[in-house]
Amino acid sequence: MVVLELDRLSCHFELTPGFVDRVIKRKPPSYIKAVERLSIAIGEKEILGIAGESGCGKSTTCSMVSGLLDPTEGDIRFRGKSILGLRGDAIKDYRRSVQMIFQDPYESLNPRFRTVDIVAEGPRALELWDANEIEQRSLAMLDAVGLPSGKYAERFPHELSGGERQRVGIASALVMEPEVIIADEPLSMLDVSIRAGILDLLREMQAERGFSSLYVSHDLSILGNVADRLLIMYLGQAMEIGPAEEVIRNPKHPYTRALIGAVPIPDPRSRRAIPNIRGDISKPIDPPPGCRFAPRCPYADASCSNTFIEMETGAGTLHQAACHRLAEIDNAGS
């Protein structure tokens, strides 16, 4: 069954123009099209990984799904019902069911709260359990993420390292017992051994409670391990989707190929190959129609800049890429 469905979801930001541009030169406003017609369905207990270029719209997608940001176009459905325009108790219920782990643990933790109170804040606001039980569960959750509560419960965020803060964020999402977890780079500041512990915890809770998850990360080796399916984005557009291991082992889209080719390996004698992409940097302001990777794609032709391909991204669908020249690229590549 589909738990969460994003239906041709878009989010456009108007850039704040300066006074001169706006009033004197009367320039039309510029837009960053952070997310463009993104459709995905996430199944029961499914973990959907999302990776892509920095600035490609991953966090924006997470915010829209969490109900923190309204889409410019499109719809988000939770168990078949649209969440846009939910009010009162309905949006409260939704916000409890869907918990977000924020990307930046330096911004997202209330600096005036002790760690135990940060974790307990959600359950207290919604009066999920009695006061004593909330306290006990919060302390247990701190222990579970590797912050022994005897030593960490009383600390304030500024007394924690980056990775310790990140784990407080994870604890405060998990303590809510959500049905969906939106995890935006949840482990980026953690080293491998602590990571392994948290991933085990997530797997355990997943087996016990069976939540679904959107899992954003730049670390393809983690995604290959935890995600069922993997979505690759570039400048707001979906480029490729498929079973996670399959996408990593046999990438189809030229962008995915370049991305996976650039993963460094831990060996000082190896050098990363210069990636097979054109140009230098992506230009998010007022992007062209058609495939946004085209200006950097070594295989692009004139037709690419006006062909926008929407993939069939329903739950469980096969490995596919939003590129209409895959056959030619395969021939050129091998």
């Binding site: 704040t16 030593k151 491998v192 080796s221 390996i265 000082p268």
Partner: protein, 341 residues
Amino acid sequence: MTEINKDPLLSVRNLGVVYETSQGPVHAVTDVSFDVQENEVFGIAGESGCGKSTLIKALLRLLPDNGVATADRCDYRGSALMKMEGEAFRKEILWQEISMVPQSAMASFNPVYRVGDQVVESIQTHRKASRAEALERASELFDVVGLEPGLLKSYPHEFSGGMRQRAMIAMALSLDPGLIIMDEPTTGLDVLVQERILRRIREIRAELKSSIILITHDIAVIAEMSDRIAIMYGGEIMEQASTIELFENPHHPYTLGLKNAFPSITTMGTELISIPGSPPTLIGPVQSCPFAPRCPFDDAACHAANPAATEIAAGHVVRCVNYENSAQFRSLAKEKSTWLS
């Protein structure tokens, strides 16, 4: 430690940092000594909470009120950083000579000013430059970190996490400092953008002959960038050596465990060997090897006293009483059973 003829750019001896907390003193950094040479990338790796950010905050005198640093020596080009007048330190050293990309890069911009104006202001505060010149320099720097110069007009909240991190790297490069300290500069970046930025930083560094202290838990990045590496655990440097030496002739059991546990895209699907147990909480003074409780090769001596740092070859320093058995450790460390018993 062997003193190399040429004076190091930065020389630190026996640095310690203690935080006072309601649970007692946290010994976040203990007895840390290292040199950073001119034109060198010095990498620091280690687990979350092992004291990496604290170490550099101590160097830059940015510790919070409850943190106290002590050191026998902490010299940058011959001037004692910790003894300088506060005013002189801020004017002559901070940003000008030693710049920093903090781990909280995402939260270090002022939310009410455009990002470009903040870069321009930083340049104009320290250099004689017209606004146009400073703006030109800011666009160059944005290009270095892969941001479209049009984005100079954006406000910090209009940037993604990785874009803010890159803008902070641009800031840190803006004054051509002698030493750039980067605390987890690439955690928020995809590998393509990361590859590009690291390549450009290597080029700039070669041109300017500046040095870098690079802190990251990403072993692949540290291997790619660093000339020398220090591995920290529980507030101490467990091992330091040139990058090749550290990878090919590691001595400390913790270094061996860290290397085992590192996932790589080529090993996807194979089981990684991780180090069981959890890191020390650093409360109270260190009276034994901090790694002993998790070390598969520990003996009575490890628990009796904190081992001293020993220089086993030129520039290769190990803090382990049993370093002479490292050949045996290296082969045993590859077996999963070693770490489980």
